[in-house]
């Protein structure tokens, strides 16, 4: 899963995980990586951020930001995706 979704608060993250799981999306949980600022310390990992984001929007769950993850030799790099 190479994209992560961040949320303004923990309730939104919990709701989003439940909704995505119930709808059959591939989703994982991770602590918010250091270096990324968001209101909530939990981030969700997804494969398809476009479909996941659209699905959450339809369900009135607001995603704060989307990041693409990539790895260089030393660390994982998170680059914000412009929605």
């Amino acid at each position: 899963m190479s994209y992560i979704l961040t949320f303004a608060n923990t309730h939104a993250a919990i709701l989003a995980e439940k909704a995505l799981l119930q709808a059959g999306y591939s989703v994982g949980v991770m602590p918010l990586p250091s270096g990324i600022k968001a209101g909530c310390g939990i981030a969700l990992r997804v494969d398809d951020y476009i479909a996941s984001n659209a699905f959450l929007k339809d369900n009135n769950i607001v995603v704060a930001a989307v990041y693409q993850t990539s790895a260089n030799a030393h660390e994982t790099v998170y680059s914000e995706v412009v929605l």
């Binding site: 899963m1 923990t10 993250a13 919990i14 995980e17 994982g28 949980v29 991770m30």
Partner: protein
């Protein structure tokens, strides 16, 4: 050669009897064969052998019985098997939630915790699951990808068989192996550091 017939005996008895037989061989070593009638006992015998640094193999016999052969020699003891990259860290997870208060919050926190374990270098030697923690290794757990990554990094993932039996999820194990209380105690006792969640 020591032949032990454990037909009709459930774990941990075959493991205990095999261990006693292996101990009686002393430093010279030798071969112990154990006849069991279920695959869980076979798995536990082989895990015990591997844990002691001994080689083992098994042969399927008639009537579904399995003969496990353990070769004890001047093999390495558990300690000397440890590699330089061995963290000696054991993580014991006894529930499917992290912390007290909100169950809903705890259930998402523990998923984040398991993901964060992947970041540890070197990785934990063992992650143990028991009581409701057993749900986290079940096939419908949302932690399987992270646990499989840990396993690929060399972490042994063990789930309490008594617990999966109690929750009726033994057949749904999605990662790692089933163990018994001896396996759990052995892993804990061999830990240099233990995180008990």
């Amino acid at each position: 050669m020591n032949n032990i017939d454990c037909i009709g005996q459930v774990c941990p008895i075959p493991v205990i009897r095999a261990k006693k037989a292996l101990e009686s061989l002393g430093e010279a070593g030798g071969v112990v064969t154990v006849l069991v009638d279920n695959d869980i006992a076979r798995q536990n015998l082989q895990k015990m052998a591997t844990g002691l640094g001994y080689q083992s193999e098994y042969e399927q016999k008639e009537n579904g019985n399995v003969e496990v052969t353990i070769v004890a020699g001047e093999g390495c003891a558990v300690e000397s098997c440890a590699t330089d990259g061995d963290s000696g860290l054991v993580v014991a997870i006894g529930r499917n939630s992290m912390g007290e208060g909100s169950q809903e919050l705890g259930q998402i926190l523990i998923k984040g915790f398991i993901f964060a374990l992947r970041e540890l270098v070197p990785p934990p030697t063992h992650v143990l699951f028991f009581n409701s923690g057993s749900y986290l290794t079940s096939s419908d757990s949302n932690c399987l990808e992270d646990l499989r990554a840990l396993e690929a990094a060399g972490t042994v993932i063990l789930t309490c068989g008594t617990c999966t039996n109690y929750f009726e999820i033994t057949e749904k194990l999605g990662v790692g192996e089933i163990t018994n209380m001896y396996g759990i105690v052995t892993a804990m006792a061999g830990a240099k550091r233990l995180i008990n969640l």
